[in-house]
Symmetry: C2
Subunit: 278 residues, 2 copies
Amino acid sequence: VTRYGTTWRDGASRAFRLDGDDAALLPAADVGELLANPDLLHLPGDRIPVPAADTLAPPVLKPGKFVCVGLNYREHVTELGKAVPEYPTLFAKFATALIGAREPIAMPAPDVTAKVDWEAELVIVIGRRVHRADLATARAAIFGYTAMNDVSMRDWQRRTEEWLQGKNFDRSTPVGPWVVTADELDPAAGLAVQTRIGERIVQLGRTDDLIFGPAQLVAYISTVMTLEPGDLIATGTPAGVGVSRTPPEFLQAGDELITSVEGIGELRNRCEPERAAA
Amino acid sequence: VTRYGTTWRDGASRAFRLDGDDAALLPAADVGELLANPDLLHLPGDRIPVPAADTLAPPVLKPGKFVCVGLNYREHVTELGKAVPEYPTLFAKFATALIGAREPIAMPAPDVTAKVDWEAELVIVIGRRVHRADLATARAAIFGYTAMNDVSMRDWQRRTEEWLQGKNFDRSTPVGPWVVTADELDPAAGLAVQTRIGERIVQLGRTDDLIFGPAQLVAYISTVMTLEPGDLIATGTPAGVGVSRTPPEFLQAGDELITSVEGIGELRNRCEPERAAA
C-alpha cells in the first residue's frame, strides 16, 4: 500500500510517504509539489513516525484546478428527482475552502446560512499532464485517490443558477486523509462512500453506482482543459444528502462529520462556529 | 497613470510597471507576485522600453481564484430574456484558459465546438486580503482593473446546469493588456466595454449599466470566501453576445477579436485552429 499525504510541522506543511509502520518526510511542501516533481516521490526521505491524524493538511494545498462533478450517482440523481445526465456537470472549488482530516469545519453564523449539508466523495488526483485523452491515457493519468466532503450551503448554492457560491465557504471542505495510489484501488469494484454524523450513517453509496467513472471523467474534462499533476477531480456524491431528507436536515455547530471512502480512510471534522475554527 | 503588467522575456515571465515613456522591470514573475509582496510595486526596477504588445502575458498567470460574474448588465439580462437577478451569479475560470493581449485564441476543431462566442468584461484585481468586507473595505481591497474576453463555447456551456465547461477551454480567454490602478478609473462613471470582430462593433456597453458594481461584488463574494491579493473577479458582459443575435453568430478561425475597456486598453487576438495556437 502506497500513501502520500501532507502534514503540518512547526507551522509549515511537508509532504510524506507512508512506509509500513512509519513514514518518510519528503522535500516538498505538499503532495501537489511531489506530483509536479515526480522524482521526489521515491526518495528515501527522513524517517518519522506516522503523522498523527490531527496534523494532517489537505494533501494538495493549492490545486491548480479542483473540478467537482455533480449529479454522478444514479441513486442521488433519483433522490433529487432528475434524469440520468448525458454529460458530467462540472463546477469549481477554490483552495480557501479546503481543510485537513481533523480540522474543524467553519460554520457561519445562522444569519449567513443555516443550510449546511454534507456530500461524501471519492476524489481523483491527477499525476500526468493530459489533453484530449482517450480512456487508456486518462486512466494512466490518475495518480491516486483521496476522500472529501463537499460541504454545501444549500441556500447559497440555490440563490442563482450556478452552484459555486454554495460550495466555496472558507474552511468548509475536508480533504484527505491522504492519497492512495491508483494501483491499490478499483472504484469500478464498488468502494463504499459514507457520511456519518456522530454514530449515525446518513450516506452510504458505492462507487460502482457512478454514472461517469474516473477514467471517463478525466477523458471528458481533458477535452475542455489540460489537466496537470496535482489537479483534483471530485467525482460526486451518493444519495442521502440532508436537503433531500424528509424533513430536510442540516449540520449544526457541535456535530462531528465523519466521511470515509473504503480503502482510503476517514475524515473526522467537528463543526465549529467560524471564529473558533479560524 | 499607473499600470502594471507581465511580459514574456527569454521564455520566462516578468512583471513591469509603466513609467511615462518607458517601463521598470520588477523582480517578480507576474503582477500576482507583486500583489502578494506589495513592497515590490514601488521599487525603481531596471529601466526597459515599454514592452511590445505581442510580448504581453496575462497580468496574473495563475490567480488563486478567478471568479466570474454572469448576468450583470441590465441590457444583457434583457437580451437573454431573464429577470434582473437578486444575487450575483458566480462561476470559475482556471489558469489554463488564459492568454495575453496578442496571443491567439485556440479554436477547437468544429467537431468539438462550432459555437465560440464573445463576452467583453471589466475585471477587478484584488490587492488586499478581505473576508466579510463592508462596502468601504471592499472598495479599498480593489488594487485595479484589467480587461478580458470571456470567450464561451455555448454548446458546452449549456450541456448541463453549470456553465464551467463552456468557459474553460485551453487558451480561450484573453486578459490584459495590463492592470490600471483603481485611483485612475471610475467604473460608476460608465466606462465603455466593447468587442469588435475586425472592424465591426458587436458589443458596446457601459459599466454604469452594471447591476452589481465592483465594490458590491467584492463585498458579496467575500461573504463566502476570503479574497486574496492577485485574485481576479470578472464583472460580467454587456449586451451583444453572438448567441443572442438573429441569426446567432459565432467566431471563426481567422477572425480577429478586439476587446477594449475604456481607460484600460485593448486586446487583439486572432482566432487560430488550436494546434497552431498551442
